[in-house]
């Protein structure tokens, strides 16, 4: 088979649908990465327009352009859009687009999940955008502190739009994070051991793990606040044993890691681009990886520094102040590794490098003002002034937008296959740089003069007029600059001439493919032996196209990919991806109907939406697998691997593990909230405790034990009367597990029915949520078991095709464990009181 024939065959197998159907049914990471980025930059533009409205309002004192009603919506939506609808999705888009190409893979681990995440993001974003167009946008600030956002102070639908819309959008962040973790750890080119992964992949892995552990507290907070608003469970109402500080803890437990979730991918781009632009390799590669991991850990210890003015005890403040200054160390390691790399090499001032210089200038200042704010006496003065606004824009614009623009210019030739022809970019950079510093440098100053954040106007005698005018002019220069960047990129993508392969002479795999990339990325998968395979073997692209790699033979029209062992990347199994489908967009639409039913308070519809989601999830997994055993398959280089469905640890098992990490973090946040309310909140103890009964713990724990023990028995092959085994597993243990989980579920229903006064004290409200959490997991595992029974009956499971059994077992164990912990949490305090 020659290269052209292979290309045609693979294209037929991997291509997305043509015509209008393409964007609705595509599951290709190349398509979806571009769609993610396009949508993210759309919201960047919308958020930018909102910023211009803010600067227009503040340009002069006593402005009558907007009243506080509209102004509050505008600044709330500016922050919300930039954080949730631009920065995070832009990272997801970059990672979705680039990672398989960098890893030498043909797609991500779960192509349909990528599409589902994209559509959740799109629909959730439109929900918030629509609310803004009809004047009902959230207006409580992007941090949404209750009681201001509680049912009494904000009775309108505005706050619900935020809580439900952001949660809907965060589904996409969790999906992307699970997917990226599994893809990075299991879906690499053979031979690409962890130490040979490109540096950006390390950043993406750490970022994805941080999303899994940082977003759940926010999701929990949103659920609790929505419950308070919808049915009156008083989690944040101090009069009824709640505490508004709980929201602040949950919010910043998410909010501070969020800053690093935004910064790290951008830093990953810098670590990728600087060595290439300097004709050398990254100085201290291992140190950079270590500092990224250190930064991730430290960032979870910082959330309280957003709450220095809330009256936290002095020892606590001192501890968090120390931790806050400590994050400067791993950041310094990276910054000096980058500068050292430039010293060691021969830096060239191309477009991407220009933006990286812009990054240095901006980010270093932002970092230093950050250290100032970590110093508590200074923070007590500067907190909630324009100084903080200036600081955070230096960090986020400097630390994210500049590197991402560098990345766009760096990867534009990869995406479009064209080289720059029009030279608008340099002028655009000049405007962006001058405009940015004009806007925000001035803002430091006016903040130190005492201008608070979020005021909609100020008096003429404050002495702030000129500074604000400078700031507003700078803002408009910045906006013009950014518009020119878009124009430059669009013009060059459409009009410019075709460029050559690997224009920057990079050594990593994403440049060893056709430009623009084909639907299948690599005609055959490379065997990697170093960190820069393309630098070692300059004709690698030709060799791969000729089929000198793994999986060079297209088979049976199937989309094939390999999984590898986590550390050393030895080939482990063969994965067959699902093809193009509209299932993800349908699933996202049904998920959206769930959120809309809550938003419009059509509660009778909500259970139907949940059932529809479950039905589509059933359909989603039913389409996978096979009814016959398959022989191990040749993959090239004389190696054979089993099919993934015939292994214990398929990609679905790994995906489940990472989803459980997020779920367990949510559970941990719930336990934290329970303990926090118990010890810190005013108006405790509650008027009435739960009466102790021996039945629920007995039935629940026994049920959990039965479920776990029975699950260990599958898949025991069925015995025929003649004594031979059929390969089909025995159904009895499945029924036993089902019985055990049903008992566990019954225990929680019993507890829910007799929880004392959930709407009259936070104690009862928390017990309800814990019971509901345990019940939900038991029901989820029951649903999976029923699914498994049908799969066994229809012959999808055999003693060899056992991967689904392993996944269900994992969920049974998890649900049982969560159930027991829930019972302990609910009942053990009752024993002590």
């Amino acid at each position: 088979m020659n290269a052209l024939k292979r290309h045609r065959l693979l294209t037929r197998i991997w291509a997305s649908d043509s015509g209008w159907k393409r964007c609705f049914t595509t599951v290709s990471h190349t398509d979806l990465g571009r769609m993610f980025l396009g949508m993210a930059f759309f919201y960047f533009a919308v958020g930018g327009v909102l910023a211009m409205l803010i600067r227009a309002q503040l340009a002069s004192p006593d402005a009558a352009f907007m009243g506080p009603d509209i102004y509050n919506q505008v600044f709330t939506m500016h922050g919300t859009m930039m954080m949730f609808l631009f920065a995070i999705p832009a990272f997801e888009g970059l990672a979705v687009y680039l990672l398989p190409k960098m890893l030498g893979a043909r797609d991500l681990a779960f192509p349909r999940l990528t599409a589902y995440g994209f559509w959740c993001y799109t629909f959730g974003g439109f929900m918030m955008l629509t609310s803004m167009l009809v004047g009902l946008a959230p207006d409580g600030g992007w941090f949404m502190y209750p009681p201001l956002t509680g049912p009494a102070a904000s009775p309108g639908v505005n706050t619900d739009v935020w809580l439900l819309g952001v949660t809907f959008v965060e589904i996409s962040a969790i999906c992307a994070a699970v997917e990226l973790c599994v893809s990075i750890l299991k879906f690499r080119a053979p031979g690409m051991s962890l130490d040979k992964m490109p540096i950006f992949v390390w950043y993406a892995l750490v970022t994805a793990l941080m999303i899994l552990t940082a977003f759940p507290p926010l999701i929990l907070g949103s659920i609790l606040l929505e419950l308070e608003r919808a049915i009156g469970l008083p989690f944040f109402d101090a009069a009824l044993g709640g505490d508004s500080l709980l929201w602040q803890h949950l919010f910043w437990l998410f909010g501070h890691p969020e800053v690093y979730i935004i910064f790290l991918p951008a830093a990953g781009l810098i670590s990728t681009i600087i060595p290439v632009m300097s004709r050398t390799s990254l100085l201290g590669h291992g140190w950079v990886v270590a500092s990224v991991v250190a930064l991730a850990f430290l960032s979870f210890g910082l959330w309280v520094h957003h709450m220095f003015a809330t009256g936290i005890p002095h020892m606590g403040v001192a501890f968090f102040s120390a931790a806050s200054t400590l994050v400067a160390v791993p950041t310094a390691v990276q910054v000096f590794a980058w500068i050292g790399t430039m010293w060691h090499g021969r830096p060239q001032l191309q477009m991407p490098m220009l933006y990286i210089l812009g990054f240095f200038a901006t980010f270093v200042i932002g970092g230093l003002t950050g250290v100032m704010l970590a110093i508590v006496p200074f923070d007590w003065q500067a907190h909630d002034t324009a100084f903080v606004t200036a600081h955070l824009h230096y960090v986020l614009f400097g630390g994210f937008v500049f590197p991402v623009l560098a990345g766009l210019y760096y990867y534009a030739p990869l995406v479009t296959g064209r080289r720059r022809f029009f030279r608008i970019g340099e002028y655009a950079f000049g405007l962006v740089f001058i405009g940015f510093h004009g806007t925000f440098f001035a803002m430091h100053w006016v903040g130190l003069l005492g201008q608070r954040r979020r005021i909609y106007t100020y008096d003429a005698d404050t002495g702030w007029e000129l500074i604000n005018l400078i700031s507003s002019i700078g803002g408009f220069v910045l906006a013009i600059g950014l518009a020119m960047v878009l124009l430059d990129l669009a013009l060059n993508a459409i009009v410019a001439i075709r460029g050559k392969r690997n224009p920057w002479r990079s050594g990593t795999l994403e440049w060893s493919m056709m430009l623009p990339p084909s639907a299948y990325n690599f005609a055959s998968l490379p065997r990697v032996t170093s960190r820069e395979p393309l630098a070692d073997i300059p004709d690698l692209p030709t060799r791969l196209a000729r089929g000198e790699g793994y999986l060079a033979v297209p088979r049976d029209g199937r989309r094939e990919m390999l999984t590898v062992s986590t550390t050393h990347a030895h080939p482990e199994s063969l994965v067959v991806y699902p093809g193009n489908t509209a299932l993800p967009i349908l699933m996202a639409a049904v998920t959206g109907s769930f959120f809309l039913s809550l938003l419009f308070k059509i509660y009778w519809f909500t259970p139907f939406a949940v059932l529809a989601v479950a039905a589509l999830a059933w359909r989603w997994v039913w389409g996978l697998g096979s009814q016959t055993d398959e022989e191990d398959q040749e993959i090239g280089f004389g190696e054979t691997v089993p099919h993934a469905m015939q292994t214990d640890r398929s990609q679905g098992w790994w995906g489940s593990v990472f989803l459980m990490v997020a779920d367990a973090t949510l559970f941990g946040s719930l336990i934290f909230g329970y303990a926090f309310l118990w010890t810190i909140a005013p108006n405790w103890p509650p008027p009435q405790w739960l009466a102790f009964s021996v039945w629920e713990p007995l039935i629940g724990v026994a049920g959990a034990a039965v479920a776990i023990i029975a699950a260990r028995q599958t898949p025991r092959p069925m015995q025929r009367r003649s004594g031979t085994t059929t390969g089909m597993p025995h159904l009895l243990p499945t029924w036993q597990s089902l019985l055990g989980l049903s008992a566990l579920a019954a225990a929680f229903i019993g507890l829910l029915l007799r929880t004392p006064l959930p709407t009259e004290h936070a104690y009862g409200a928390v017990l309800c949520v814990i019971s509901a959490f345990g019940l939900f997991h038991a029901l989820l595992a029951i649903l999976m078991l029923v699914f498994l029974v049908f799969r066994i009956r229809r012959g999808f499971i055999s003693s060899r095709r056992r991967s689904e059994v392993e996944i269900v077992k994992l969920w049974i164990n998890y649900a049982a464990l969560i159930g027991v912990v829930c019972l302990v949490l609910i009942l053990s305090p009752v024993l002590f009181t």
Binding site: G140, S244, A309, V317, G340
Partner: protein
């Protein structure tokens, strides 16, 4: 802090500038580079600067905290959307709205709380800010060195009336303070 920050910005800028202009001896040993850039500039330099800064901050912060003192005057600040009420331990029946009366030259402990949403008590010239949180009472130590008027404002976003949510602190001389406590018109 400002001078130190400016110095660091200039040093970093100079290092980047030099990296473009210097002719790179590509045979430079990488080990020595790592020692200079990672160990020296990346680890030792920020750690020493930060340690010094942190110790200084803790000492200053300690001094700003309320300590036991016989001279302390106690007042209460109660915030709501969008006004401030003040009550006085030494003049129990009296409530002032929008104006907080304190003696000049004596430490004052303000017990801060709220009736509705979160607000923040901030008189820039007297002290840093401290939040008013439902169900909690936070105590802020302030001291005005001279009699006069000091502007105060809420520093936590609280909805529509946030911009105008301000108050005034009036510091009295010892004689005026005695008259205030005696209930004479001011």
């Amino acid at each position: 802090m400002l001078a130190g920050s400016t110095l660091i910005v200039i040093i970093v800028a100079a290092l980047i500038w030099r990296s473009f202009s210097s002719t790179p001896p590509t045979d430079k040993p990488l080990g020595r580079n790592i020692r200079i850039w990672i160990y020296g500039l990346g680890l030792v330099f920020p750690m020493s600067v930060l340690a010094a800064l942190l110790i200084y901050a803790l000492v200053v912060g300690e001094r700003l905290l309320p300590h036991l003192d016989d001279e302390v005057v106690r007042v209460n600040a109660i915030a709501e959307q969008w006004r401030w009420q003040f009550t006085y331990t030494d003049r129990p029946e009296y409530v002032s709205e929008g104006v907080l009366h304190i003696p000049a030259g004596r430490p004052v402990d303000v017990a801060i709380t709220t009736r509705d949403v979160i607000h923040s008590f901030w008189v820039p010239r007297l002290a840093g800010k401290l939040d008013a949180i439902p169900g909690h009472v936070n105590v802020l130590r302030i001291e005005a060195s001279a009699p006069g008027l000091y502007h105060g404002q809420s520093a936590e976003f609280s909805g529509k009336g946030y911009t105008g949510h301000t108050f005034i602190v009036q510091a009295h001389s010892a004689a005026d303070w005695a008259r205030f406590l005696a209930g004479e018109p001011m």
